[in-house]
Symmetry: C2
Subunit: 393 residues, 2 copies
């Protein structure tokens, strides 16, 4: 096991009707002037959420300034807009209501609001380069389960001038509290639900496929999460207002991305790095980029450690290895993963996402502009990256 530091300081308030406690959760901590950042999509109005949250904020006598219009793969320009508002209004607390994009925007605003320089200076390809120690306190009401941003200290922002999507993070960037009410996700469209489930799946695989030896319990727990997603993902698509299934997925979104199953090991993250470039170039939903790239990545790397893929086959898909060739079993787990993503309605090749001639060369170039390789299970250099992209064609 590798050395590590771990904590989950964010207070997670999970369950039915919990969004109605938000005013009290802020005011009991002594804050008054808040910036309320939310997705301005119709669904917050239609399901009455915006009204209900507005009411609890008013009841707690909070002074609310609003910021809306966050788009997926959120933009630095929106963050700058929020920072200016926060400084002008002497904001004490930033409340985010939305998915990962909204929460990441709120986090970045909270960082920028306490700094003289540009918040973008914290954003690098590798998190931890310019760590964040200070920010305004942030609280979240999660409306889409997927990114895990609600309990981690990271954020991803796209610089609209350069087109680069980059990450930042640090101990000062954890939300103070996060409200997770599975009922809120009932009306999430099937495609977004599926994209979320598959994104969580890859958050676990990025941690699971490692060269670190003897990672017993974290492996077993990771397999448990993957097996659960494999089991309940399709059930949820058929029964989208099932509270227990929504609750499972919402909770898995959190635990699959706060290092509960990532501690003590070298992690990979090539699948995500490969996916970011597809989003940058073709504006494809993040969840669809990682389903395409995980399958291609697995096909490229599985022979590197057929025992680990064999374990994955056995404990996630229940594939019996007895009397069979180990390589075959390992490859069957790749096909089982692909079949799962297809069952979820997600693309596993570029063409299935409407990208018939992906600019492989350009994406590989962009990735290699700032670093020599991506990933750790196998280090992927420029040529490997092109090959993996081509496996997805």
């Amino acid at each position: 096991m590798e050395d590590f530091i771990f904590n989950i300081p964010t207070q997670i308030v999970f369950g039915k009707e919990t969004h109605k406690r938000v005013g009290q959760l802020i005011s009991s901590r002594g804050y008054k002037r808040i910036l309320f950042v939310y997705d301005s999509g119709k669904f917050l109005q239609e399901n009455g959420l915006l009204d209900e949250v507005g009411k609890t904020l008013a009841e707690s006598k909070l002074e609310v300034t609003e910021l809306t219009g966050i788009r997926p793969n959120p933009l630095l320009s929106k963050v700058h807009e929020g920072v200016e508002i926060a400084k002008k209004n002497r904001i004490e607390f930033v409340l985010a209501m939305g998915g990962g994009s909204t929460i990441d925007t709120a986090k970045a605003i909270a960082v920028g609001a306490v700094e003289d320089g540009d918040v973008w200076d914290h954003f690098y390809s590798a998190i931890g380069v310019s760590p964040i120690f200070e920010a305004l306190p942030v609280g979240t009401i999660l409306t889409i389960a997927a990114t895990g941003s609600e309990t981690n200290c990271g954020m991803m922002i796209t610089n609209d001038e350069t087109g680069l999507k980059r990450g930042a993070g640090g101990p000062g960037a954890y939300p103070i509290f996060s409200i997770l009410n599975p009922e809120i996700t009932y009306s999430l469209p099937a495609y977004q639900t599926a994209a979320g489930v598959c994104d969580m799946y890859t958050h676990v695989t990025e941690r699971y496929f490692t060269n670190t030896k003897n990672t017993y319990v974290v492996d077993a727990m990771a397999e448990g999460i993957l097996r659960t997603l494999y089991e309940i993902g399709p059930k949820l698509l058929k029964d989208p207002k099932n509270y227990d299934l929504r609750a499972e997925v919402m909770w898995i979104g959190t635990i699959s991305h706060n290092d509960t199953v990532g501690v003590g090991r070298v992690q990979d993250w090539a699948t995500h790095d490969l996916g970011y470039e597809i989003t940058d170039l073709y504006n494809l939903t993040h969840g669809a980029t990682v389903t395409i790239m995980l399958i291609a990545w697995m096909k490229y790397v599985f022979e590197h450690d057929i025992n680990r893929f064999g374990r994955y086959a056995k404990f996630v898909f229940g594939i019996d290895p007895q009397g069979r060739n180990r390589r075959d079993v390992a490859y069957e787990s790749v096909l089982a993963t692909e079949a799962f993503f297809k069952e979820m309605g997600m693309p596993t090749r570029f063409s299935e996402a409407g990208i018939d001639e992906p600019d492989v060369e350009r994406m590989a170039e962009t990735i290699c502009k700032e670093r020599d390789y991506i990933g750790n299970f196998i280090q992927l250099k420029h040529d490997d990256i092109e090959k993996v992209y081509k496996l997805a064609m």
Copy 2:
């Protein structure tokens, strides 16, 4: 899934040599006058730990007052002694180095130090009756993996006047940081190692055996932890200086008792309640009381939900249910649990712990003095409690 609130605010610093960072971890937070509570057993001197920690505290220019002589099942009188010292010396921070007993003593001192009344007023059979909101900050250096006290907000103390062992806890009682260095546990005797492993095992089973429906992912993760303990426990007894195995057990001690696999479900805890009375009456190591009582409890309750025990059989012990009677499979999992505890050298009956004629009536009486029943998987009333104790004879 049931509603819940969850966080792990304690910063866990895990790995080799990490105890040498303790001075810096305290002084960087601005504290100066510390109370250093530690187990005065020989092993801290012999392995040089006390010297090394003393050196880092001195280098960080901390003013250290010491308190030693903590016994297993720690006493309220020692807590009172610590509270008096803390108040007299205007202590700002309490550092614990030891296992659960030392940490729980330090936590209780930290609570008492900021109160006018008696800290015992917080202690009840059920945690949460008089919750703790305020305490001096506590840091820990864990030397025995078992109780999970290093990252939870609970503590168990025995009142030496009444003989009652009781719990307290609350949001103010989490340690600020906990240092987990697996190397420190190399010299732990086999019996204590085994008692720790089995105690962790029951921390998971107390959460796993529930009537809450559709607890998918927490079940799968709990099974992963149990399977890992079953796999590596015996290996560790044969190879006690194996870093990776010690690291696994140390980490499992933490995650099996901070609700990582307990959220969203009604938990049981009858095994622990039954065990506490054995400790009170016969001064038996906690880990040995729960191995005896878990087996007896399982034998008494398994027919209540043979599907859950069947799942336990399959995912923990790999017992194939195909073509077999479900009750038989369920019961086989009980026997497999018993065989595991025996392999670990732990007792599974009173006689194996040198208690030939346990005073069943008296223990049942004591339990029922303050409540009508224990446990939730099946509520055990006075008669049930006697029957379970008798199953362990």
